[in-house]
Symmetry: C2
Subunit: 302 residues, 2 copies
């Protein structure tokens, strides 16, 4: 079973033999591959930047907490010195609270996130909009508050040339993480604003099941602000928040979705974002190498 020319290398976390050689730095196939740093959760920003450079990845998706740990200017310098693009900053959002004081704090936090995205020259600020407030069953109300919050943030973001990217989330997260549940719904909301100010994130994990997904990707067109890939695996891991899989370990037809996204004219980065305890337990260097191999084998055309 060991792939020709793969030298007995094993993919992580599956432990299965690699089916393709690891693409080397400079390989044109890596020209759009971005490592979302959550995929190598143990690494600091500096370590993740260095890991991308070693692997030949031209872009990185950053998270606010590790960026804040070293300070935004230091993080901006690290990525700039390494010549990396910042394909996204994760994350703003959490705009569903019905408590006025909490809402004020959420808006203020989003303004800071916008400043950070601007300082990092991030292609977009990913918006995870939030779930139902504790004890609430008013889903329509929560969705309206998201729309109001986005409307309040857009002028500030536009002034700083930061694009807000609404992320529709898998319905498994509707109650506790994100009440935007389909790409169509995210586009309905994004459509209230200019495309250069508010876009959407197409994340295969969140939308692969949607019977309308191909039509909605086509509709999204220039609204696509980011494209993220990871797999849906079964049995679903016990912690729903850590249920994502390495591309190829699950059920998603990545090529189908990538081609649909490409057909819109989107030529930005393709970010690999995997929340998974087994991936996090593996050697981050091996994770990045597997990401590159699986990206070539499952996301790109062969």
């Amino acid at each position: 079973m060991s792939g020709a020319g793969t030298g007995g290398i094993l993919d992580v976390p599956s432990g299965r033999p690699a089916t393709v050689p690891t693409p080397l730095p400079g390989d044109a196939r890596l020209s759009r591959l971005s490592l979302n740093q959550k995929t190598t959760d143990r690494w600091s920003v500096g370590e993740a930047v260095a890991g991308c450079v070693r692997a030949g990845l031209p872009a990185i998706g950053l998270w606010r907490e590790p960026v804040q740990a070293i300070g935004v200017p230091a993080a901006a310098r690290l990525v700039a010195d390494a010549g990396l693009r910042v394909s996204s900053l994760c994350r703003g959002g959490f705009l569903t609270t019905d408590d006025p004081a909490q809402r004020r704090r959420a808006i203020d936090d989003n303004l800071r996130a916008i400043d950070e995205a601007a300082a990092l020259s991030a292609a977009c600020l990913v918006m995870v909009v939030g779930g139902l407030p504790p004890g609430s069953r008013d889903l329509a109300g929560a969705r309206e508050r998201v729309a109001d919050g986005i409307a309040e943030l857009v002028p500030y973001a536009a002034e700083r040339r930061v694009r807000l990217a609404l992320e529709p989330m898998h319905p498994i997260y509707c109650a506790d993480r994100g009440v935007l549940s389909t790409l169509g719904q995210a586009l309905d909301l994004a459509g209230r604003f200019r495309a250069r100010h508010v876009g959407v994130v197409v994340d295969t994990f969140h939308i692969w099941w949607d019977p309308d997904v191909l039509a909605q990707i086509e509709r999204a067109a220039e609204r696509i602000a980011g494209f993220q890939v990871c797999d849906w695996i079964t049995p679903l891991p016990p912690d729903a928040l850590l249920s994502r899989g390495m591309m190829g370990d699950g059920h998603i037809d990545f090529r189908l979705l990538r081609r649909a996204v490409d057909a819109t004219g989107y030529d930005g980065d393709i970010e690999v974002e995997i929340f998974n305890a087994e991936v996090w337990a593996a050697d981050p260097e091996a994770v990045v190498a597997t990401v590159a191999r699986r990206y070539v084998a499952h996301v790109l055309d062969v």
Copy 2:
């Protein structure tokens, strides 16, 4: 915290004090309440029928395996002698295989399920259509095979006056259980057939998150063959197949959805179907009593 007039009774599995007295047999509010026997998984058909009678529930949802355990004629006699309606038989379906021999077996099994539903005078045969075949990522193909399979079953079912009820399932189950993911998608498929032959199941757990749910319930109209309720709870229990909650323990606005279903003219039974390890570990008698209380407090108008 103990509710006035509830005599210190505790709901299961939450252990919280009951907020309303248990409705007694003959209470008009119970006139549409059906116990899906999976909610009291430990009970045989005979025990579940007796439990419904003691609690004053006029209907039961049956499952094929426990029915087969005592034989279909015996089960039919039990429910008839008790004067219960059979609000549904669970379940047919699993039509997504791409292997011809397996498909033949699946069709044959569905024909038997139709015979059983006819013998039990079940209001509908619930169709859980199946997930992706092992190793397959062809979601569109799986969905087409479901449509083909339903088309093959309809004449046989129609002849026996059995109504097939397509159950859209929460996208969490798309890979491994049901590739019909939204009510709209189920209605698109059902619409290929006469409404009296193919309907849909509206299950709050599966569809509550859908931004389009109210419009699709209105569209469903006379296609509604069954209405099931249980809650979406967080954190999601570790086993995704046992993640359903008792009404009131989670995030679903049941009244909103029940009113929308009522507005279509649906006046059939409202079935409580809960797959949950804690519910199954509780005393089934206490489960039925809690079901009746929570139904009155959370599903019906107060």
